[in-house]
């Protein structure tokens, strides 16, 4: 089976890594040697896609031509083609959830649907589709570097991502033709990378301030188990916000209309980003912006920048204190602090973090690489090559249902270790009611309306009965990816109930299927390949089980029946390493049918034995 790769799908940069022997390694672009792939996607009006540096060159900006004149170039969005950066900020958002300051940055299709859509030419693209392009570029890069197929991946997400944002990330993987084996929280992934050899056992705080998101996770590391005690964060706090402070400063004297111009804004952003980086090493930086009729110049000192940035850093520290409270720890009780994410290069951030925890933070691994390295380690865990290492993460936000009066009833509290499940009983309120509606929300507020709507479920059809009589058990299960799964069954009949899921935001399965069909890059071959692997797995499983059963319960099968089963098994054994998927599947089906009576007899026999044992115990 193919190896599993680790992907850091970042706001600013994305990376892909894999375990090589005992250590994770980042796979750089074979052409340029650059380990980082800028998370920027350009789509031409004809639908051609570019990712990374090429896309950056197509962003709208101002440039000085050879004739000395200033020109506005690049794709402005809409009919002209678009360049999207920081798409992660839009993942899982509904149209109405796009922040006011983000609305003028791109051409959006509309602000009312359950999913944000970028308008490009005559088509629209969801954030998952755009992220899928980044994933495809990473896949291509790794395949070129190693000469092997990339099919299965681990993708990292901010720990504070809600259900919808996680689902959108998984959708992106699917759209890129990848099997997403696991989503891992970024700070936890970082702790795995550090945990390989840089960290002793104990309590660790991971402070992860990236390009667009902030996470704090507090972990306890013991005997190879990485157990998250609490996590908190802000999915809209990161390097982009620091840049924006400097952009606002640089553009302060321009008329409002010009400040909204995408060419000007983007050029200003580039100048701001450069100045921010300079201010990490120097006391002063100059930002310059050449406009057609004038040149705008602003000098900024580190002290000034720190004054502006302090409230942002303060927001992250407040989240740290909340996480510490939830973990039941005082700041001084943390044994180590780890810095992750490019924005932790800002001296102010380092200083404030050191002050809060009363110790110097660790940053021996490159803060831009550490999450991808950790993703590769987790991929190693999934391949069974990391020994006893195990990650126990938590759900970042409480999950509950809307009850009478609009109050949120918490079913799963934030910081509960996942996977976790809870079962809740439901019944009808009026006679002969045939459906029960359940509204699932996520968040920490008292009223359901103040939390984020996750999905609405319709239970039913229920047999018509007097009110209060039907009893339906609904199980809410959050898997290791932090994604909710709902199942329901009737208590009296034991029958599984169908649960009609209507996600409040995000894409439905049908929509994803349609996008997959539309996507040209995903060849039929990939699909066939995956189906073949799955058929082979089924065959191996069935043959293994059958051979054990024949060994142990040989007396329960007749001679003729045994010959039939064994002949079919031999055919399957011979076929299962071939490439005829349909034939393997047909044989699996045939063997299953042939051996079912035998399996049933084993079960009857075992039940009989158990009853016998019980009656003997009762007698004695």
């Amino acid at each position: 089976m193919s190896r599993i790769f680790g992907i850091d799908l970042g706001t600013t940069n994305s990376l892909i890594a894999v375990m090589e022997g005992e250590r994770p390694r980042i796979l750089a672009d074979p052409a340029t040697g650059d380990p980082l792939l800028p998370s920027v996607v350009a789509i031409t009006p004809q639908g051609e896609v570019f990712v990374g540096e090429q896309a950056i060159a197509m962003e709208p900006h101002l440039t000085v031509e050879r004739d000395g004149r200033i020109h506005a170039i690049g794709f402005e969005g809409g009919e002209a083609g678009a360049v999207v950066r920081s798409v992660k900020r839009y993942m899982g958002l509904g149209g109405d959830e796009v922040a006011a300051e983000d609305r003028h940055r791109y051409s959006f299709a509309d602000f009312s649907g359950p999913v944000v859509r970028f308008a490009v030419g005559k088509r629209t693209f969801t954030p998952s589709q755009i992220s899928a392009e980044i994933l495809r570029a990473l896949k291509a890069r790794a395949e070129a570097a190693l000469g092997e197929k990339v099919e299965r991946v681990v993708i990292t997400v901010p720990a504070y991502f809600n259900d919808g944002q996680r689902q959108a990330t998984k959708d992106a993987g699917r759209l890129a033709g990848l099997e997403v084996m696991r989503l891992v929280n970024e700070p936890t992934a970082a702790s795995l990378a550090y945990g390989l050899n840089q960290l002793a056992e104990g309590r660790v705080a991971v402070f992860d301030l990236g390009g667009g998101t902030f996470d704090i996770s507090i972990l306890n590391i013991k005997g190879g188990i990485f157990e998250v005690l609490a996590t908190n964060g802000d999915t809209h706090l990161g390097g982009d916000d620091f840049d924006r402070l400097l952009v606002d400063l640089l553009l302060a004297d321009l008329p409002h209309q010009l400040r909204l111009d995408r060419h000007i804004w983007n050029s200003a952003r580039l100048a701001a980003e450069a100045a921010k980086k300079e201010l990490s090493d120097q006391d002063q930086a100059r930002m310059k912006l050449a406009l057609p009729d004038r040149e705008v110049c602003k000098a900024v000192t580190r002290a000034e920048f720190e004054r502006m940035a302090d409230p942002l850093v303060g927001r992250s520290l407040k989240r740290c204190r909340m996480a510490l409270t939830d973990a039941g720890l005082a700041p001084g009780e943390v044994d180590a602090v780890v810095l992750v994410g490019g924005s932790t290069r800002i001296p102010l951030v380092r200083r404030r973090v050191a002050e809060l925890f009363g110790r110097e933070p660790l940053c021996s691994l490159d803060p831009d690489h550490v999450v991808a390295l950790g993703a590769a380690v987790q991929a190693g865990v999934l391949m069974g090559s990391q020994g006893d290492m195990l990650l126990l993460d938590v759900v970042p936000l409480s999950l509950g249902i809307e009850t009478m009066g609009g109050v949120m009833e918490r079913l799963i509290h934030r910081n509960t270790t996942i996977p976790t499940n809870v079962t809740e009983g439901f019944t009808t309120a009026v006679d002969n009611q045939t459906h029960v509606d359940i509204h699932v929300v996520q968040g920490e507020r008292e009223l359901a309306a103040d939390c984020r709507s996750l999905a609405r479920f319709k239970l039913g059809p229920i047999e018509t009965q007097p009110a209060g009589l039907p009893r339906i058990q609904v199980s809410f299960l959050i898997d290791a990816n932090g994604i909710l799964n709902v199942t329901a069954h009737d208590v009296r009949t034991g029958r599984e109930h169908s649960v009609d899921v209507k996600p409040s935001y995000g894409l439905t399965d049908d929509e994803i299927e349609r996008m997959l069909e539309e996507s040209i890059d995903l060849g039929e071959q990939d699909l066939e390949q995956r189906m073949l692997i799955s058929a082979r797995n089924d065959a191996a499983q069935l043959l293994g089980a059958l051979s054990k059963q024949l060994d142990e319960y040989g007396s329960l099968i007749g001679a003729q029946e045994r010959v039939q089963v064994q002949e079919c098994a031999a055919k399957l054994e011979a076929a299962r390493n071939g490439t005829d998927r349909a034939y393997i599947s047909a044989l699996v089906e045939e063997l299953n049918q042939l051996s079912t009576p035998f399996a049933e007899r084993i079960m009857d026999y075992a039940i009989g034995r158990a009853l016998e044992k019980k009656s003997v115990e009762e007698l004695s």
């Binding site: 005997g223 391949m383 499940n421 290791a480 089980a545 054990k548 059963q549 142990e552 399996a599």
Partner: protein
């Protein structure tokens, strides 16, 4: 009897298959999930050891490439194991679960004031009212008094919890009248639940009072 989704051999319903060790994915009572007898006194370190050791073997990350049925079983069993650990490691949650197992209902919502706390509760409520209506000037001193009260409440929870654990030991040893013990368990758990709710109210009032001081 059920069939192990991994090795297909029959097994009693347990957390893991006795033959191949894979998770079976069945629902069990929380003591059984951790392989423990129905005893109320538990060693928290031993509990953590079982949780980690079992979790290591049955977690979905160990079955990433297995069949969907095995993965589903691993998911369910791990969720059960986690729920068992979280419930049983906390004496209060353990006591409540125990009553549930015995079909003894604890009062639905703990609104009734436990008799021996009536006076204290009355005083705390009065203080809360004052703090909520306070202006900047005296909010500080009221806040300090409230914090002292909070410590008092915490102390009550601690002593009641100790009492609870003494009763756990008595139950396990088989000493004493069963019904009396059940009643004592119930009363201790109600007291803790009530005082905890009150403490949360106090914390909220303190939080908003300090926030007011900062913004003004």
């Amino acid at each position: 009897m059920m069939q192990c989704p991994s090795c297909a051999r029959p097994s009693e319903p347990r957390l893991t298959c006795p033959q191949c060790g894979a998770p079976l994915g069945v629902e069990l009572d929380l003591f059984a999930a951790l392989g423990l007898p129905h005893k109320l006194v538990l060693d928290s370190r031993e509990l953590e050891r079982i949780y980690h050791e079992t979790g290591r073997r049955i977690h979905p990350d160990r079955f990433a490439s297995a069949t969907p049925a095995v993965r589903q079983a691993s998911l369910k069993s791990t969720a059960l194991l986690t729920r068992a650990y979280r419930t049983l490691r906390d004496p209060v949650a353990r006591g409540r679960y125990w009553l549930e197992l015995m079909d003894e209902k604890l009062a639905e919502n703990n609104q009734r004031v436990p008799a021996d706390l009536a006076e204290l509760v009355f005083e705390v409520q009065e203080q809360l009212g004052e703090l909520r209506g306070a202006r900047n000037g005296n909010a500080n001193s009221l806040g300090a008094a409230m914090k002292a009260r909070r410590a008092e409440l915490e102390e009550i929870v601690n002593t009641t919890q100790e009492e609870l654990e003494r009763n756990f030991a008595r139950w396990d040893s088989g000493a004493g009248e069963r019904q009396d013990l059940v009643n004592e368990l119930k009363s201790a758990l109600s007291t803790i639940a009530y005082v905890r709710t009150l403490t949360r109210d106090v914390d909220r009032a303190l939080d908003s009072a300090t926030a007011d001081i900062k913004t003004n």
